[in-house]
């Protein structure tokens, strides 16, 4: 008899969800994963020991060559237990420990401002904009560590198009949930909550800009920004805002949290740029998570061919 490796044995929590997953498809699976389904308590208990993982998402289109970096994805444990998510604490291990209090379902996103069809939209409706696909992207934190993550989600452009930006819309602003009950880190004013991020509309409409609802083939763990987060792979990680509750289109450049906090160090653009150091540390090299090896950082995090055109004529030393 062939021995099945431990890694292929289905979690009980996952097994209990399996029927639902198969019946309702990917979107419903996400709902089940996030809702207080019977297995949730078990999942929570197991999460304490770091063993539980959110349920697998089905019907996900594999990453095409254009959206797949040629590198081994970061270890799942490292990508999900080493997070910057100040809503749950400022230490890297705080989010994985504290994010169980977040309730990612039901979830809705307010889409307003310069759009023809504004409204408070349930997550399921947003996900109806496109079918789930995988994107294997590099991720570079402004703190000089990096990952390779297989995200699951839909292009941001598909969602924006669905709510029809007006001719005045030039920027897209995003906000994270504010609820100190669910996000204990918000009891301290480390940041002027809510966490805010933004993109120029042309950046947001770029095919690489992505709204993720999962990673590693599974729903997003709370600490990674459940149930829906932004992923902008050519920008520093802080641009990729988590647990989004509002998407606001505007004529003017929106305020963004890190720029508010320290404008001399964190610009609105925050494109990954090894030539422009952070005022306090070098951005020339990075530490891929999971080892002692360091590697050179690439311009636009390796996506220069795709996105450099967005910044033609812009002084990147000034507009860092």
């Amino acid at each position: 008899m062939t021995k099945i490796p431990e890694s292929q044995v289905t979690d009980e929590a996952l097994f209990l969800n399996r029927r639902e997953v198969l019946r309702l498809g990917a979107v419903a699976a996400l709902g089940a994963a996030l809702a207080g389904c019977p297995a949730a308590d078990e999942a929570d208990a197991a999460a304490e020991s770091g063993a539980a993982r959110p349920p697998e998402l089905s019907g996900v289109r594999p990453a095409t060559a254009a959206y797949r970096v040629d590198a081994t994805p970061t270890d799942y444990q490292d990508a999900t237990r080493y997070n910057n998510f100040y809503e749950f604490g400022t230490d890297k291990t705080d989010p994985a420990e504290n994010a169980h209090s977040l309730r990612p379902s039901p979830w809705s996103v307010l889409i307003d401002g310069e759009v023809a069809k504004p409204g408070r939209v349930p997550l399921e409706d947003i996900l109806a904009a496109a079918s789930l696909e995988e994107r294997i992207y590099r991720f570079r934190c402004v703190e000089a560590w990096s990952m390779v993550v297989p995200w699951v989600g839909i292009p941001l452009s598909a969602v924006l198009a669905r709510y029809v930006p007006t001719s005045k819309a030039r920027y897209v602003a995003f906000e994270t949930l504010v609820d100190p009950e669910q996000m204990p880190g918000q009891r301290r004013n480390v940041i002027d909550w809510p966490y805010r991020e933004g993109l120029r509309l042309d950046e947001a409409m770029h095919p690489l800009a992505f709204l993720a609802v999962g990673m590693y083939g599974r729903a997003l763990p709370n600490q990674n920004g459940a149930p829906i987060r932004l992923v902008v792979p050519w920008k520093y990680g802080f641009k990729s805002i988590k647990s989004i509750v509002r998407i606001h289109l505007s004529e003017k450049q929106p305020r963004t949290s890190w720029n508010d906090l320290q404008p001399s160090e964190y610009g609105f653009y925050a494109n990954v740029n090894p030539e422009v150091d952070h005022p306090r540390w070098s951005q020339a090299r990075e530490r891929p998570l999971g080892g002692f090896r360091k590697q050179p950082t690439l311009a636009f995090n390796g996506y220069g061919k795709e996105v450099a055109g967005l910044y033609a004529g812009l002084d990147l030393n000034r507009n860092f």
Partner: protein, 213 residues
């Protein structure tokens, strides 16, 4: 109990305490793996313990004066050296693991990054103090030894500044360090205001003081 017996026992405990954080880190790496960001982990752990042991060393004298426990005295040097040992590990992590001993990167860090300059200055001061921590150096330097070793009151705040300059948003850890240092310095000053300094038989000039008739 003979004094030397007590002293060596106290020293053994000090060495054990000094080695503990390093041992815990090594054990954690061995049992749980190196984790997500081992270079950062090593840098932070060694840096934190360098600061903490220097603080413990500084706290010994006020503690000894308030308590009257003379057996505490040699611990000032032991914990000072422990702090220095972690500072060496901290500096080597930066030099070898972070910068790969690349002279250009080292030069850039030392000339362009204030937090590195503060850290390196602290390290150089601690090195000078460690090198002159022997009884022989004490004898040779006489009164100048005391003056030299007061430099620890430059090194300690500089280490805290070094810590501050690295933080992105949450200043609490560095503020805690600053507060502890303030308490230690206040305790020392308080004693000095209340009473003239107690002559310390370990530091008394072993040669005549040329500045006095």
């Amino acid at each position: 109990m003979p004094r030397r017996g007590l002293e060596s026992r106290v020293q053994a405990i000090a060495v054990f305490l000094a080695a503990l954080p390093g041992a815990v880190l090594a054990l954690r790496f061995a049992l749980e793996g190196i984790g997500a960001d081992p270079i950062k982990d090593l840098t932070r752990t060694t840096g934190d313990w360098a600061i903490r042991f220097v603080f413990v060393s500084l706290a010994i004298t006020p503690l000894r004066r308030f308590s009257g426990w003379r057996w505490l005295a040699p611990l000032r040097r032991s914990f000072g050296l422990a702090g220095f040992a972690y500072a060496v590990a901290h500096m080597l992590t930066w030099l070898v693991l972070d910068l790969g001993v690349d002279p250009a990167a080292v030069a850039e860090d030392l000339t362009e990054r204030p937090y590195v300059m503060a850290g390196m200055t602290t390290f150089l001061i601690l090195t000078a103090l460690a090198l002159t921590s022997t009884r022989r150096a004490m004898k040779r330097l006489g009164r100048r030894w005391l003056t030299l070793h007061r430099a620890v009151y430059v090194a300690a705040p500089l280490a805290v500044v070094h810590h501050f300059w690295l933080i992105k948003a949450d200043y609490r850890p560095a503020l805690v360090h600053a507060a502890i240092l303030a308490v230690i310095v206040a305790a020392r000053s308080l004693w000095r205001l209340r009473l003239p300094p107690v002559p310390d038989e370990r530091i008394l000039p072993h040669r005549p003081d040329p500045t006095r008739p």
